[in-house]
Every structure is written in structure tokens, then in C-alpha cells.
Amino acid sequence: MTTSLRSLPTLLARQREWSLLGLMLVLSLAVWLKAPQFLSPANLSQVAILAAIIAVAAVGEALVVLTRNVDLSVDATIGLVAYAVADLLKLHTLDVPAAIVFGIGLGLLLGIVNGALVTLCRVPSIVATLGTLSVYRGCAYLLAGGSQISLSDLPPAYVALARAGLLGVPLYVLLAAAVTLVAGLWVGRTRFGRQVYAVGSNPEAAAVLGIRSRLVVFVVFGISGTLAGLAGVLWGAKYGTITAAAADGAVLQVVAAVVVGGVNIFGGSGSVVGAALGALFLGLIANGLVLVRLSQFWLQAIYGAVILVAVAADAVIVRRMLRAASERRRAAQSAPGAGRA
């Protein structure tokens, strides 16, 4: 039973997901001891709702990172979509379902622009998305001028989304779970989805295999934009008061969620489930800090430490697994009577 290297990414991903769940349990216990209301359904559901918005964007970002790229423009997409959707609702130009579709569509468009820059114009994704970050945010400011959309401007049906739920589980959480599930199945089971991993882990080999890497990259940027658009729609309904600066700086949280979730920045390994769990983990930390009355000035420092520890752990685990795999292979090959592995 040799451990084939091909299943290594899957092994790693599962490992990370379980460790995250374990960490979350430990963290929750620690906070609960000091502040029992941490685990109350009311608190947890609020935390989960806020984390769900980030999780949706993090799933899209994870797909991009899997292909060895990065999308730094997500928060500008979220902000622009949130404002545009709210504006259209305020002016009664569209009704709620149409506005939601519009928002997701706008996100798709913005993602396609990123994809085109990266694949057609061959701009490295870090440069392209740094550029579109400024451009999209600038567009949001241009669109809004100095105005803000207030809760009373929005149709109740839209705002109610943030409060809706099924059997006690908030709608946002269900949505995030659904998105994660669909994305996970797509990238793990479908032929095209698996190409995402291939492109990220070994672009040259992928090309040899006839995989159209540029098409794959283009598609994941489109998906990332679409999910960021969805996150923007959810953002607007949750926050109620929206200015052009909505979600400013959220890219740090999204990328942190992806990294903590075990998606390797070099591409090729990690899972979208991990990214979603990462978003939840960071949300729990933020909430836990507040409840144990630790000064909120520590939050940033802890975020940074968590990222570093997560990545370092990644590297250590990868090295160990690779060593174990190669040792097993060597043992199998040198065993008497063993055929070709």
C-alpha cells in the first residue's frame, strides 16, 4: 500500500480541516471557561453570520490561489457590488431578486476583467489585482460621491435576508455551506475542476497533458469575482448602512482565511472547505477576544501570529509527509518480490 503522491494534496487537506476543527474546539472551550455566553446560540449565530460573508469570498479566493495566483481585489469588488445593489434598490430601479442577480453578475464581470488581464494580457495576478483593487474602489467612490445608503432606504425584504433562517440555522450560514459544498465537489470531482489542482501544482506538466491552463485560470477568476459579488450582496443586507468604503481592507481577512485554511500559496494543494473553516476560525477568534475582555489592540497581532503559525505548520507537515511517502516508496521498492509500484 504505497501512498501515491497524487493523493497527497487530499491527505493534507483533510489533515488541515480536522486540525482546524480541533483548534476551534479547544479555543471555544478556553473562551467558554472564561465567558460562558460564548457558546450561546445567539452569539454563535451572529459570529457565524459575519464569518459566512468572509467564507463565501474565501472560497473564491481559495480557487484562485490553488492555481498559483492571487486575487487582491476582492474587497473592492465586495464594496462596489454592495453599494451598487443598495443604490439600485434605493432608487427602486430593480426589485430585490433582480438586484441580487445584478450584484452577482457585476461580481462576475469584475472577475472576468481580472481573468482577462491575467490570461490574455499576461499580467502577473498580483500586479493585475493590485491595479484593479485601486480601480474598482475608485469606481465605487465615483459612483457614491459622498452619499451613503441607510437602512430606511432599503426594502425590508432585502434586509430581512440577514435575519432569515431555516430550523434555527441562519440563511447566510446555509448559503456559505452550500457554496463551499458546490465548489468543493466541482474542484474535487469534476474533470474541469481537477484541472485547477493540476494547473497550480505543476503548470508545465499540465500543459503537456493538454490542459488549457489559461482557460482554467480565467474561469477561477470569474468564479472568484462571482463569489465576491455574492459576498457583496450579503454584506449590504447585513450592514444596512453602506458607503463606498464598504469592506475596505477585508482582503486581509479573506487571504488569512485561505492561508489558515491550509491552501498552499504555491498552489496545487488545499481545499475550499479549509478556507471556509478558516474564515469561521478567524471570526471565532475575533469574538472570543472581545468576550474574554482581552484588549482589542491584540487582535491584529494575534491574526498575524495565527497566519504565521498556520503557514509554518503547513510547511512542516508537507515536509514530513513527503519524507514519509518517499520512505514508504523506497521500502516498497526494495522489498523482495515487490513489483513495480
Binding site: 493590485l130 480601480v135 475608485g138 497581532a301 498575524g304 497566519i307 504565521l308
Partner: protein
């Protein structure tokens, strides 16, 4: 028919280097032309643009970005990146303020802060070279970590009781001239690093590591040591930029320097440095720093809104990569895939 083929083959061999050299030469010239163009357009957009006082102002503000862009150039050429510079600025400002408020003399506090910056750089360097972690993620982590430490050190306070000599260093000019002090620092650092990068063996190593790390290692380059030194340099210089910023604003705050990483990386990329490493010139980055500062100043004086400025900078950044790509495609005559 063989002549064009041989020509093609030969240029393909010498291709990358020849292409780079001529492309780089072209890029600096292009930047120089853009700079000149900006001066002309700026002067037409506003009668007060082409005055010594205005140039002095816009230079002073650009110097913190410029100073940090110099070691960032070396780091990016070596194939890495340092996103944590703006947090080092914040941490150094916070610690400087905290030390000063606690009664420590500036003569002691400033070197202490520079050492702290070096320590932060060392952390980055070790994590990247020893633990083998990607610099994008490591410096993303230290970006948050160092900013958080700055908040813990200084909290909500803003220290502003600095002595006037210190403030004059940041805000004032060299006696008798409209040139800010920080320009002197920038010029010295630029000269030293420029010579280092383009005329010494060390500089060649930086390029080699960026082009092909394993090949460089086999050729005897101490890759780990080199990268660690570069990160330490970046951290120290960022701390210096933090000191200058604190002096210029006469105010030490934990949130100092927010947004500077984007500005520094934009300047370096605009200067023609390849984000994947292995090529770029310091001169290009210097020109880009001034071009960016001048562009934003000209737009401000023409009362162009801040939103449009942000869009302009974003488009410029994208354009700075798209244009060379188009040029390369054009020169290769369509090229093969």
C-alpha cells in the same frame, strides 16, 4: 530563408538578455519622458506647479515611499517580496513615541528603533529562508503582527511633544536650499544601493538568485544568507522611514504608515522591476517614485478628485506591465506559443 531563421535563433539565445537590456533601457527612457511630460502638463494645469516650493513639498512626501522602495527593489529582484514594511513604519513610530514619552533621549531611541526594524526583518528572513515559507504569506503575517504590536505598545495615544530640531529634520529643508533633509537620505541610500546592485558582485548575486535560485546556489551563491540580509535591510530602512515620517508629522502613532506598502510596491513595479524577479534597475524605481509623486501632486493641484487619482494609479500600474508585454509580443513578431 535560413538567414532569418538563424537570426531568429541567435536572438532567441541571446534573446532574454538582449531583450531585457534594450527593454530596460527603453523603460527608463520612457519613464524619463513621462516625468518630463508630467512637468509640462502639470505646469499647464496649474500655474503654481512648477515652483521650487511645490517641488520641495511633493518630494518631502514622496521620500518615505522612495526610501523604502530602494531595498524593496532588491528584494523583488531576488524573487521575494516584503509586504510588512508599512507595519514596520508603524511599529517604529509607536516605539519611538513610547521611548520618547518615557524620557529616553532621541539619540538612544532612534538607533533602538532601527535595531527593532532590523529584528523584524530578521524574523521575515529566517521564516523565508530557514523555514522555507513563501515570502508573500510570511510578510502578510508580519504585516498584521507588527501592526498589532504597535497597537499594543502605544495603544490609543499619539505622542507629539518632540523637540523642534527633530521636527525640522523631517519637515524642514537643507539650509539655503528648498531640498528636504529626507531627500539627502534618499540620495545617499540610492547611490549606495545603486552601485551595489549594478556594479558589484553582490548585485550580480541578487539578479542571479532572482533568475534561477537553484542555479545560483549551485554556482556557490549563499542564497539564504543573501535573502536574510535583504530582509534585514528592508526592515531597517522601513524603520528609518518610520522615524522620518514621525519627524515630518511631529506625531508618533500606532497607525502610522498605513497604505504605504501599496505605494512602495506600485513604485517598484512602475519602475520596471519584474515581479517574478531577476530584472530591474534602481534608476527606473527612482524615476517611478518621482513620477508617481508628481502625478498625484499635479492631479491634486488641478483639483482632480481623489477617486479619480486612485483609478489613475491603478490603471498606471496595470499599464506598466501590459505595455512591456505588448512590446515583447510585437518584437517577437507574434511569437510562438
Amino acid at each position: 530563408m535560413s538567414a532569418p531563421v538563424t537570426h531568429q535563433a541567435r536572438s532567441a539565445d541571446a534573446g532574454p538578455r538582449r531583450l531585457e537590456l534594450s527593454l530596460l533601457g527603453r523603460w527608463e527612457v520612457l519613464l524619463g519622458v513621462v516625468l518630463l511630460g508630467l512637468v509640462i502638463v502639470g505646469a499647464r494645469l496649474s500655474p503654481v506647479f512648477a515652483t521650487a516650493q511645490n517641488f520641495s513639498n511633493l518630494t518631502a512626501a514622496a521620500m518615505e515611499v522612495g526610501i523604502m522602495a530602494l531595498p524593496m527593489t532588491l528584494i523583488i529582484i531576488a524573487g521575494e517580496i516584503d509586504l510588512s514594511v508599512e507595519s514596520t513604519v508603524g511599529l517604529s513610530s509607536a516605539v519611538l513615541g513610547w521611548l520618547w514619552a518615557a524620557g529616553v533621549s532621541l539619540w538612544l531611541a532612534v538607533p533602538a528603533v532601527l535595531l527593532l526594524g532590523a529584528a523584524g526583518g530578521l524574523l521575515n528572513g529566517l521564516l523565508v529562508t530557514r523555514a522555507g515559507l513563501p515570502s508573500l504569506v510570511v510578510t502578510l503575517g508580519t504585516l498584521a503582527l507588527l501592526r498589532g504590536l504597535a497597537s499594543v505598545v502605544l495603544g490609543p495615544r499619539a505622542i507629539s511633544t518632540f523637540p523642534t530640531e527633530f521636527t525640522a529634520f523631517g519637515f524642514g529643508t537643507l539650509p539655503g536650499t528648498p531640498l528636504p533633509w529626507s531627500l539627502l537620505v534618499f540620495a545617499l541610500l540610492g547611490l549606495v544601493l545603486g552601485v551595489l546592485l549594478h556594479a558589484t558582485w553582490l548585485g550580480r548575486q541578487v539578479f542571479a538568485v532572482g533568475k534561477n535560485q537553484s542555479a545560483a546556489r549551485y554556482a556557490g551563491v549563499r542564497v539564504r544568507r543573501l535573502k536574510t540580509v535583504l530582509f534585514v535591510l528592508s526592515g531597517t530602512v522601513a524603520a528609518l522611514a518610520g522615524v522620518i515620517l514621525t519627524a515630518r508629522l511631529s506625531s508618533a502613532r500606532a497607525d502610522a504608515g498605513q497604505g504605504l506598502t501599496l505605494a512602495v510596491v506600485t513604485a517598484v513595479l512602475l519602475g520596471g522591476v519584474d515581479i517574478f524577479g531577476g530584472s530591474g534597475t534602481l534608476l527606473g524605481v527612482v524615476l517611478a517614485v518621482f513620477a508617481l509623486a508628481m502625478l498625484q501632486n499635479a492631479l491634486r493641484l488641478a483639483d482632480v478628485s481623489t477617486q479619480l487619482q486612485s483609478i489613475a494609479v491603478g490603471l498606471l500600474l496595470i499599464g506598466s506591465v501590459v505595455v512591456p508585454n505588448v512590446v515583447i509580443r510585437f518584437r517577437r513578431g507574434g511569437g510562438t506559443r
